[in-house]
């Protein structure tokens, strides 16, 4: 029912994509891609890339940089600089701010990196210290996903929009060429990649740990410095890692609990008559409360289950 499908919704162009057929599911299927020039979120400033970016929604699951590149090439012979995907659940976005948190302390690093798409093994990474990938190619994303495509320049972004408008007007469909590395081979390669060669893993881990050690050393040095140098107001910052490191928060809490417990024991029991009396009263109250609660529960049960009847 193409006539019922609007050309545009809000400010999004609706681009129909014809999906490739496969022998196991030989029906023609159409996918609908939503597309508009990118705009910054309402409360954010536009970045220099915004003008030459396109926002895409309702992506096919196998959309990745290469498939989108192919699509755009076929649409308007436009090349893409890069594609940005939102983070999946459980992924952590890290911005390399030049500060690395090591053992809870911020350690400034020399040199700035740019925003990374994926935090592979935490914050600290030296060269060749990240863990090997487990999947070949891009990750498969959830159905109906979104992405921002950054074109090489503003003109090519406009060209894409124009081509899409024309296509929609003609009632045509763009062809979606999916990824060709799906199927069992993908799982097979994943299984292979799950077990990286021991030597490779060893070297990566060694690199990582060495890097971590230098960071830690830097941290220690920084802290030591902080301990010695008074700040502008003449105060010396209290920091971790003195001769006898400060107690851990959890331990302090546990100690407090223990103390409370001891307090209770000392004055508790039924030493005085008033204590016994109060204890009895409390018990009575408790019984009464329990009774009322149970009565309420039985009432609720009756309401929910109906009358009590032997089966």
């Amino acid at each position: 029912m193409p006539s019922h499908i609007p050309a545009k919704i809000q400010n999004l162009h609706i681009l129909p994509l014809s999906l490739p057929t496969v022998p196991s599911c030989p029906y023609a299927a159409t996918h609908y891609l939503y597309l508009r020039p990118d705009a910054p979120p309402p409360d954010a400033e536009p970045t220099p890339d915004t003008a030459r970016s396109l926002f895409l929604a309702n992506l096919p699951i196998d959309a990745d940089e290469s498939t989108l590149r192919r699509l755009f090439k076929s649409l308007a012979a436009v090349t893409i600089e890069r594609v940005e995907f939102p983070l999946a659940e459980g992924e952590v976005e890290e911005e390399d701010t030049g500060v690395v948190v090591v053992q809870g302390t911020e350690v400034p690093l020399s040199g700035r990196g740019r925003k990374r798409k994926r935090g592979q093994s935490g914050q600290v990474k030296g060269d060749g210290a990240s863990l090997p990938r487990l999947w070949e190619g891009e990750q498969i994303r959830g159905s109906g996903g979104q992405a921002v495509v950054v074109c090489v320049d503003r003109d090519s972004a406009d060209a894409v929009i124009k081509a899409v408008k024309r296509l929609i007007k003609q009632g045509g469909k763009a062809e979606w060429k999916g990824r060709d590395d799906l199927g069992e081979t993908r799982y097979r390669s994943h299984h292979r990649l799950t077990y990286p060669p021991r030597a490779l893993l060893q070297s990566r881990v060694n690199n990582y740990l060495a890097h971590f050690a230098t960071l830690e050393a830097a941290r220690a040095k920084m802290l030591a410095k902080q301990r010695q140098v008074p700040d502008e107001d003449g105060f010396i910052t209290v920091t971790r890692g003195g001769r006898s490191g400060p107690a851990r928060l959890e331990e302090a809490q546990a100690a407090q609990e223990r103390l409370k417990e001891r307090e209770k024991k000392r004055a508790g029991g039924d030493f005085y008559r008033f204590q016994t009396r109060e204890g009895r009263k409390r018990k009575e109250m408790e019984l009464k409360e329990n009774f009322e609660r149970d009565a309420k529960r039985v009432r609720e049960m009756r309401e929910k289950r109906g009358k009590l009847r032997p089966e």
Partner: protein, 1165 residues
């Protein structure tokens, strides 16, 4: 803890003091305490003097009482005749004691009266109150009709004309010809040449008895039955009529005359049928159904005899009243007593006496009536009734038992129960009395002293009325009663849960739940052709033989053998009695002993013991052989083969039936049992935990190898199993040495001793873990030759979660997956959660990582350990869990239900098995699990299981009422937070996880939970329809799904098929492939990608297809940008709606699967 409390109560008798101090402490009360308190009370009442009125006063009261009853016109005049003076003075003393604290209803207001031992708990008491309120018949509507019918019948009966004494033959002929009534003579029929005459004259009295005038009837049970007692006049009997069935012939004739009289009446068109009183073939009765439409009640006419007609001492159970036909030949041998015959005559004269007894009890003890009603419900749910085929223990016996125990039965003839007991106390005390006493071995005598010999059946002899209350019970039905009573006492003593539903609401008598094995033998093949004339009489004696044979032959293999006689029917007046139809069957149910029922060798008596050895040989025939055992003893013994294709248990039964009841009986026998062997793989091992022995050994080897490593930087602290394979609960047997390799490694958690050298940073901890595992891998390979150890990575996209594991593959084929536990991780994650400076996405990731950590490293090992312990404690649990998981998988629900959740569901039938005892076979456990799941309303109830039952080693702490309460509160909190049940649908708490959502949070969608319950209900329905083949429950079709993704034979599945053909091929599968499961990965992936759009169902064992249902919510909704599935924008009216792009999604699935997908079928296409 009990005795001090009792002492205190005895000293201070004021109600206010004792209640608060000891009331809450004791919830269950053991038997000693009860007897103690009864004794104490006795003492008190002696001191305080007697308050009861003289016997005369009581009679008057009685009369008044009766007058106020609805059926007074008949009952009144007759009861008044009966003096109650027979009750001995001594017993009177116990009546009407001052006992303020138990009976004060005002205590209810403060809540104190309900706690402690008086009632189990508030909940229990409140529910009992409600139940009593519900079942109490609504007097009023029926009353008028009842009274009208009773009056009419009485008038009719009193006007029946007398018949002159005539000979047997003529009397019978006259009735048959004129009135078309066949006299229901008992077998053997009277001799044609008998000298005595049969006559009819006006009854001495007509009265109403039974539970209706006692007001202990329940509205819920089937139709109301009223008893009219027609006392036959003395003049038609002679003194010696109690001999040789003469009384029964005259009684049958009298009954036939009554029937003729009522039939001849023109005013009313009553429907008349003959029946046997409780199935007792000596005592026919007349069942009258009123002509009024929907009267809803029946009247039973029971002929009775005045109690002084026959001498009491001649009808004691020790006397013979049926002389053999040919006298003289057997004079040397003493005549065998005929207790059943004698009791049948006695019972005819006692109906009114017992009515009086129960009336007295109701007056003496306030709670008596309620206790009777509770007992009535309890018995009914267990299939007991006064009819002999249903055990011969019904409401009447229950009521009389309590009444008698209120008067005597305790030590030194004192009352066993105090009239101050609450209804619940009476109920429980009666059960306890039944559970602890053995009336067969030690015949009980109440109200006097009398030496009675042991009989086959139970004896509870009421001396005052000279009758054995339990004379109708067979040895097996008595055993069943004891068994049920023991179970009930155990469940009422449970201090953690109160089993109200199990006690009163659930039906327990469905054979497939109650018995492990069921055998049915046709009636005709049990009784030899020559004896078919007296089929019914012969059948009962054959059943006796059958019971004795099976009991002896099966010995300790069984806990219970139960014979169920075929159904009986009443019959029309004009035909001869035929209560049993010829094609009916005798059903024998067995409850087996889990540990020994499939034992291969039975030890008999020693060879030197000539007499016993001979009897053993005679019993077993050629099967008995003399063997010399390792300890040097030479014993008669039996050796059963495990290779015969049928279980040992079945072989024994077949052998016994064939040897003692002939080839026909054995051939016609049908056997239901051992079904688990067909449903879950057992690798040729007996069911139970034996098939898991190899993997357990392999795990021990792994443990040994790990502990033997010396070069490790840190010592190993714990090696914890963390997968179903290691807790005897995986459907497939993980590993059979020499035959199969493990394709999926079993999870193990490894913890090193704590060290300060671990980095205090989450990412660095993951790096250190990898370094550790690499080190471990090198060490292990160096230590054990042939072993493969490789480090793998996981959770690529979630860097906060565990990143690495170590697969250890033994050359034998065993494979394990080790993960390192570092206990600092959760602290760091929690710190992240609390850190206000971090962004929301980081916090979400931390929360997810924390949940994953808890699941993998805390709950999973604890759960595995608990299930492992439980499975070794209850041998049938393993099979029950596997069957239940198989059932879930067969209905393609396994992807939504964590194995651990299924284990918790199945464990309930063992940890809290009530109303049944712990099941002895996997099938029984599985079926009961279904019954529990079908009853579980997960919307309003949490599922809480105490896995620590009995507290085995390794299981921390027990479960107490407080923990249960806490879990309940948590459940209620979840329902408040998430009333739509989007995150938590099932709440599965256990003693190792009070939080209850570790396995279900975000996993079990409502549709799945609803489906599980619906399927379980359907299964229960099938079983209730007497389906015996459990295999039918495992069938599932795919026609009801929206689409079906047919899978190709690849990877593991293909191999599995080969495996079935060539067992040795599997051995060659490469180690490379351990852990490779493309279909599983594909199924997981589409669940992750399209879980919002559709619900997927697939059977991870069969791996034939993935079926799916579209989510109806996503069908069409207002368009918005961010939806989690592929959409089609469609113009509709003014706006645009988003429809789900079904073709697109299916296309994506097909492309994702590639060669794994054979075909995608869509419903309707």
């Amino acid at each position: 803890m009990a005795p001090p409390a009792i002492k205190r109560r005895k000293l201070s008798h004021t109600p206010s003091d004792g209640d608060t101090s000891d009331g809450s402490e004791q919830s269950g009360f053991p038997s000693e305490e009860e007897h103690d308190s009864a004794d104490d009370l006795e003492g008190v009442s002696d001191d305080s003097g007697m308050e009861d009125a003289s016997s005369n006063d009581e009679d008057e009261e009685m009369e008044e009482d009766i007058e106020s009853e609805p059926v007074s016109p008949i009952a009144k005049e007759k009861l008044a005749v009966k003096p109650a003076a027979k009750v001995p003075e001594k017993q009177k003393a116990t009546a009407e004691k001052p006992k303020p604290r138990h009976t004060q209803p005002s205590d209810a207001l403060t809540g104190t009266g309900y706690t402690g031992e008086v009632f189990r708990s508030n909940m229990f008491k409140l529910q009992v109150d409600e139940l009593l309120e519900q079942v109490r018949p609504k007097h009023g509507k029926k009353e008028a009709a009842v009274e009208r019918v009773l009056r009419a019948l009485k008038t009719i009966i009193e006007q029946i004309p007398a018949r002159d004494p005539t000979s047997v033959v003529e009397a019978e002929k006259a009735l048959l010809k004129k009135d078309r009534i066949a006299v229901p003579f008992p077998n053997p029929r009277p001799a044609e040449d008998a000298k005595y005459k049969l006559a009819y004259s006006k009854p001495a009295q007509v009265s109403v008895a039974g539970s209706y005038p006692l007001k202990t009837t329940t509205g819920s049970s089937s139709d109301l039955v009223l008893d009219i007692i027609v006392t036959m006049p003395q003049d038609i009997f002679q003194e010696k009529d109690y001999m040789n069935f003469r009384y029964f012939y005259k009684r049958a004739f009298y009954l036939a005359c009554l029937a003729a009289g009522i039939k001849a009446n023109k005013q009313h068109a009553f429907d008349l049928k003959f029946d046997y009183l409780h199935g007792n073939r000596l005592l026919p009765i007349l069942v009258v159904t009123p002509d009024e439409k929907d009267a809803g009640f029946k009247v039973v006419i029971l002929p009775a005899v005045l109690k002084n007609v026959f001498p009491v001492e001649k009808l004691l159970p020790t006397v013979n009243c049926v002389r053999p036909k040919v006298l003289g030949e057997e004079k040397d041998e003493p005549l065998r007593p005929t207790p059943f015959y004698n009791a049948s005559i006695r019972v005819d004269s006692l109906a009114l006496a017992y009515l009086k007894l129960q009336h007295d009890a109701a007056k003496q003890c306030e709670a008596y009536k309620d206790a009777c009603v509770l007992g009535r419900i309890w018995l009914r749910q267990r299939g007991f009734s006064g009819r002999m085929r249903n055990g011969g223990f019904g409401n009447f016996e229950w009521g009389v038992l309590i009444a008698l125990l209120l008067q005597g039965g305790g030590p030194k003839g004192m009352p066993a129960f105090s009239p101050g007991y609450s209804s619940y106390q009476l109920f429980k005390a009666t059960l306890q009395y039944l559970a602890t006493k053995d009336f067969v071995k030690n015949p009980q005598v109440v109200g006097g002293s009398l030496a009675l010999p042991q009989e086959k059946g139970p004896v509870f002899f009421d001396v005052t009325r000279s009758s054995n209350v339990l004379f109708k019970m067979s040895p097996w039905s008595y055993k069943l009663l004891q068994y049920e009573a023991r179970t009930a006492v155990a469940m009422l003593s449970d201090s953690v849960f109160d089993h109200f539903d199990a006690t009163f609401i659930m039906r327990v008598d469905q054979p497939l739940y109650r018995y492990d094995t069921i055998v049915e033998i046709p009636v005709l093949s049990l009784v030899p052709v020559a004896e078919r004339e007296m089929l019914e009489e012969r059948l009962s004696s054959r059943c006796q033989e059958l019971y004795t044979t099976l009991t002896r032959g099966l010995g300790d293999r069984v806990k219970l053998i139960q014979l169920h006689m075929p159904e009986e029917e009443n019959w029309a007046l004009g035909t001869r009695a035929h209560a049993i139809s010829n094609d009916s069957k005798v059903m024998i149910g067995f409850v087996v002993d889990a540990a020994s029922y499939n034992r291969t060798v039975d030890h008999g008596p020693a060879a030197e013991n000539k007499k016993e050895a001979a009897s053993f040989r005679k019993f077993w025939g050629e099967k008995a052989e003399l063997r010399r055992f390792k300890d040097g003893s030479i014993l008669e013994s039996l050796v059963w083969s495990t290779k015969e294709g049928s279980s040992i248990f079945r072989q024994i039964i077949s052998y016994l039936v064939e040897r003692h009841f002939g080839k026909d009986a054995a051939a016609d026998m049908s056997y239901t049992g051992d079904q688990e062997t067909k449903l879950v793989p057992s690798a040729g091992q007996p069911a139970g935990i034996a098939p898991f022995h190899p993997i357990m050994m392999a795990f021990q080897a792994l443990e040994k190898d790990l502990r033997a490593l010396e070069e490790l930087p840190l010592q190993i602290r714990h090696i914890l199993p963390a997968s179903p394979e290691l807790s005897y609960s995986s459907v497939e047997i993980p590993f059979i040495p020499g035959r199969t390799r493990m394709t999926i490694p079993a999870d193990v958690i490894l913890q090193f001793e704590s060290s300060a050298r671990w980095p205090d940073d989450l990412a660095a901890i993951q790096g250190t873990k990898i370094a550790f595992l690499l080190n471990l891998a090198t060490e292990l390979e160096a230590h054990a030759a042939g072993m493969t150890a490789r480090v793998g990575l996981e959770n690529e996209t979630a860097s906060l979660q565990n990143q690495s594991f170590l697969d250890v593959i033994y050359p034998t084929g065993a494979a394990f997956r080790l993960r390192l536990l570092h206990d600092r991780e959760p602290t760091l994650l929690t710190r992240r959660l609390k850190d206000k400076t971090l962004s929301q996405s980081v916090k979400t990731a931390a929360a997810a990582a924390l949940a994953a950590f808890k699941r993998t490293f805390v709950h999973l090992p604890a759960h595995t350990q608990a299930i492992q312990t439980l499975a070794t404690r209850f041998p049938a649990l393993s099979t029950a869990m596997r069957l239940f998981k198989r059932w879930i998988a067969a209905h393609r629900l396994a992807p939504h239900i964590a194995p651990q959740a299924a284990e918790l569901l199945a464990a309930r039938a063992f940890a809290a098995p009530y109303p049944w005892p712990v099941p002895s076979t996997g099938t029984t456990g599985f079926l009961r699990t279904l019954a529990f799941v079908a009853r579980w309303d997960w919307r309003v109830e949490p599922w809480i299981v105490d896995l620590s039952v009995g507290g085995g080693p390794g299981v921390e702490g027990g479960f107490d009422a407080q923990a249960v309460q806490a879990a309940r509160l948590r459940f209620e909190a979840w329902r408040k937070v998430d009333p739509g049940m989007n995150r938590v649908v099932w709440f599965l708490g256990s003693s190792v996880d009070g939080e209850g959502v570790a396995w279900t949070e975000g996993r079990v969608p409502k549709v799945v939970a609803g489906r599980v319950r619906a399927l379980a209900k359907a299964a229960v329905g099938v079983i209730n329809d007497r389906e015996r083949d459990v295999g039918t429950l495992f069938g599932g079709s795919v026609t009801e799904y929206d689409f079906v993704i047919r899978l190709a034979d690849v990877g593991d599945k293909g191999k599995r098929k080969e495996k079935e053909k060539f067992k040795n091929l599997a051995q060659q599968a490469g180690e490379e492939d351990v852990g490779y499961d493309p279909l599983g990965a594909f199924a997981d992936e589409i669940q992750r990608l399209f879980g919002h759009a559709a619900v997927f169902f697939w059977d991870a064992d069969r791996r034939d297809c993935i079926a799916g249902l579209w989510n109806p919510l996503q069908e069409e909704r207002a368009w918005k940008l961010k939806l989690d599935y592929s959409t089609v924008p469609v113009e509709k009216g003014e706006g645009v709606v988003a429809r789900i792009n079904r073709e697109g999604i299916l296309n994506e699935i097909a492309r994702l699967g590639g060669g794994l997908v054979k075909k995608v079928d869509v419903k309707g296409k």
